[in-house]
């Protein structure tokens, strides 16, 4: 069975890869497609069923495996782009506001690693935040010596806006050590929080 590995690919790439692979195999042969996000999986499934194919789906770990038998040719002209649907419309305005450098109340060393694990998992979350705000001791996560700096830089590069409280940087005398994000003030931060469709306080 031919395997299409579309992990890490964003729409419309998995659709294009699937369409191309289907064109290459013989009728009655089958194809396995690996996809690592639910939106792409749904888009590819819809594309295939709309074109008269039967799709079976399996989730192994974090990876969706789609199995499809080729029952006919998909015309070269079949559109793929219009199957790119962004599914997080309900959460398109998600904001995460870090108010401290520890996650939860309790033992400090535990709060510290829980926070690292939380931040390091954000790039894999199905609903990406539009903005992330850092307040009070939360600003320590954004400094050059922060152990989650690489992850925050990665999020910023992927389009997530990172706002860091300027008053807080000033209070802790850490302005020179900022490693990621934009220095922001209460007006911008309040605007972000009040216009968000939902705010997560870790």
């Amino acid at each position: 069975m031919k395997v299409v590995d579309a992990r890490g690919e964003l729409c419309p790439k998995p659709l294009i890869m699937t369409k191309k692979a289907l064109a290459e195999i013989d009728e009655n042969d089958s194809l396995e497609i690996l996809i690592d996000n639910e939106t792409s999986m749904k888009n590819v499934s819809r594309f295939l069923t709309d074109n008269g194919m039967e799709v079976k789906q399996e989730l192994k770990g974090n990876v969706f495996h789609l199995f499809v038998g080729k029952t006919g040719e998909i015309p070269e002209s079949a559109p793929v782009e219009e199957y790119c649907e962004v599914s997080f419309s309900s959460n398109k305005n998600l904001v995460i506001a870090f108010q401290k450098e520890l996650l939860g109340d309790g033992a400090e060393e535990l709060g510290r690693i829980l926070m690292k694990a939380f931040v390091n998992t954000l790039p894999e979350a199905t609903s990406q935040p539009q903005s992330i705000v850092f307040l009070n001791s939360g600003i320590f996560l954004t400094l050059k010596n922060s152990q989650v700096l690489d992850t925050l830089v990665k999020l910023e590069k992927s389009g997530v806006e990172i706002l860091v409280c300027g008053t807080c940087l000033d209070y802790y005398q850490k302005k020179q050590e900022l490693g990621v994000g934009i220095v922001s003030n209460m007006y911008d931060i309040l605007e972000k929080l009040t216009s968000a469709s939902s705010v997560v306080y870790p």
Binding site: N62, L110, N120
Partner: protein
């Protein structure tokens, strides 16, 4: 990309391992244990095998007598 993930038997071992790896200047992340490795609500250590060598991490952790399991995991 492919990562090496180290899992431990208790959160306290993760804390001890983190401490010594930081002291020795290793580059790694603390992450929740991936669901396909274990359903426990555990913490793990993740590093990029291209940057950090498995055997030098293993040697360092031997110094403090900590048992761990090594996994190869694909992550975004």
């Amino acid at each position: 990309m492919n990562y090496t993930v180290l899992t431990f038997q208790a959160t306290h071992y993760v804390l001890k391992a983190e401490k010594i790896l930081l002291e020795k200047g290793f580059k790694f992340d603390i992450i929740p244990t991936p669901k396909d490795i274990s359903s426990d609500c555990g913490m793990s250590i993740r590093f990029d095998p291209e940057i950090t060598r498995n055997d030098s991490v293993a040697e360092t952790l031997k110094l403090i007598n900590i048992d761990f399991n090594i996994h190869e995991v694909w992550m975004k």
